[in-house]
Symmetry: C2
Subunit: 278 residues, 2 copies
């Protein structure tokens, strides 16, 4: 039996603040057209959202399944599940439930769900292929598995403030030191095939996030400042010798400068896959 690294990024306020920016529209564009067709064919759709974090994307997906479809959102961490449920209640979304579960051992029967979705989950795992295999198992034949994973190396910032280039290196190195995957986007098709799926049952593409409008820049930049102040990137980065206290302070100043820069832009590329379970 494999022992897996737990999710170590943590759910500090800084992490979840930016996660809460996420909606089905901005973070699951590859799934939406498929989901619309599936809901039309079966209004009582059952969707499993694996590794749901603060639940914003799960709640947004549940809204697309209303009124008769249902989302079950799972997470390995207890505390964030409570916050996710609070978020659903605050939005008045009731066709969603929450359950603690490991993506490696989903407590569900084979073929229990019409759609299984995971967003930025595999990139935090040391055995992503095992997770894909488990997600495919709980999907019914003819159902869909939708995956979206950042390629952490495919990240570009403008202007190229030196402290922000160092921030990018720090982020990637901490992810890798925690057992995560720095090239998840480009490897996604490879993981899926390794999990036993045929290439002909896979639709693959890339999607992006762009932070360039002043309000998006502020949402991202402030989340990064908070993460540098309170998240584990600071401690872990210093512990690993990748940065110093001064280095972290420069990164904070770098993001503050970037937020205020009129032509500033940040682009991130994600791998996107839809598996049609045969």
């Amino acid at each position: 039996m494999t022992t897996h690294t737990p999710y170590v990024v943590g759910h500090a306020a800084s992490q979840t603040k930016h996660h809460e920016w996420r909606t089905a529209e901005n973070s699951a564009p590859h799934l939406l057209p498929h989901l619309k067709r599936a809901v039309q064919a079966n209004p009582h759709l059952k969707l499993l959202d694996v590794g749901a974090g603060p639940g914003t994307l799960s709640v947004s997906l549940a809204q697309h399944l209303a009124p008769s479809g249902h989302v079950l959102a799972t997470e390995i961490a207890d505390d964030i599940l409570v916050r996710a449920k609070e978020h659903a209640d605050a939005r008045g979304v009731h066709n969603i439930s929450f359950q603690k579960a490991s993506v490696y051992e989903l407590p569900f029967a084979d073929g229990e769900f019409d759609v299984v979705h995971a967003h930025q989950v595999l990139c935090h795992l040391d055995a992503p292929v095992d997770a894909v295999r488990e997600m495919v198992r709980v999907t019914k034949r003819g159902g869909l598995v939708a995956l979206r994973e950042a390629d952490m190396r495919m990240w570009c910032v403008w202007p190229e403030i030196p402290a922000l280039l160092r921030f990018h290196e720090l982020m990637v190195e901490v992810l890798v030191a925690n057992g995560g995957q720095d090239k998840g986007g480009r490897k996604l098709v490879s993981w899926v095939l390794e999990a036993g799926v045929e290439r002909g049952d896979v639709e693959a593409g890339f999607g992006t996030w762009c932070y360039s409008e002043p309000s998006d820049r502020r949402a991202w930049g402030e989340a990064m400042v908070e993460r540098l102040r309170t998240g584990q990137m600071r401690g872990k980065g210093i512990e690993l010798g990748i940065t110093t206290e001064e280095g972290v302070e420069e990164m904070i100043k770098g993001w503050q400068e970037w937020i205020e820069t009129g032509d500033a832009t940040l682009g991130i590329m994600n791998g996107e896959v839809i598996i049609k379970k045969a």
Copy 2:
């Protein structure tokens, strides 16, 4: 007066073969929703496609403007204009005309076009801001300028065949040696603001190309093999000391191996901008 580097990539068969894969759907997704609305509002839309190359994307845009709208496609190179016209005739598309012109000195009055479009043009220029200013000049108030430029550094291939990583370096270094821009995608907003456009009149995002399906992999891979055999990348790369004859042969073998690899993927990120001319 600025002297500008001409377009030096060349229009060898290898270059145009891959260019012909391009359609409005796969290469102008940022423009299409705006274009549909504009055509509904004014069926007699006039669109200028700057740096149209073999004209495939121009012809695809003309099909979206049919029957009453018109595309004028310009190019600096005579020979490719002839091929572009042949392509339009072969497709039976007649609401398009062709004209030789430099993007730096467009032979049109201020505000002559409803929509001005350029795709992968600025990245080949040594003065992209001058080109943007000129494109904005010939756009009417209330009209649109649509730009899409690769960020040549935002390029990822899987599996990471060493010769293909060297191919990427060769491609970028030859582009830069020719006076082109290796980070056009992330700089696009910056160029547009430098050309005098207000940030509030700009919609910015990133789009991608994904080559992963077997047929897309073959289209791309074979075009790269042809380009390495007959294009100027080989000669220029060897002249600059970036590669050798043996190095080029290894790159050819690398692409041939990649075409046949079931889990192979290539991702490229493009900056995308829509300017609403105030």
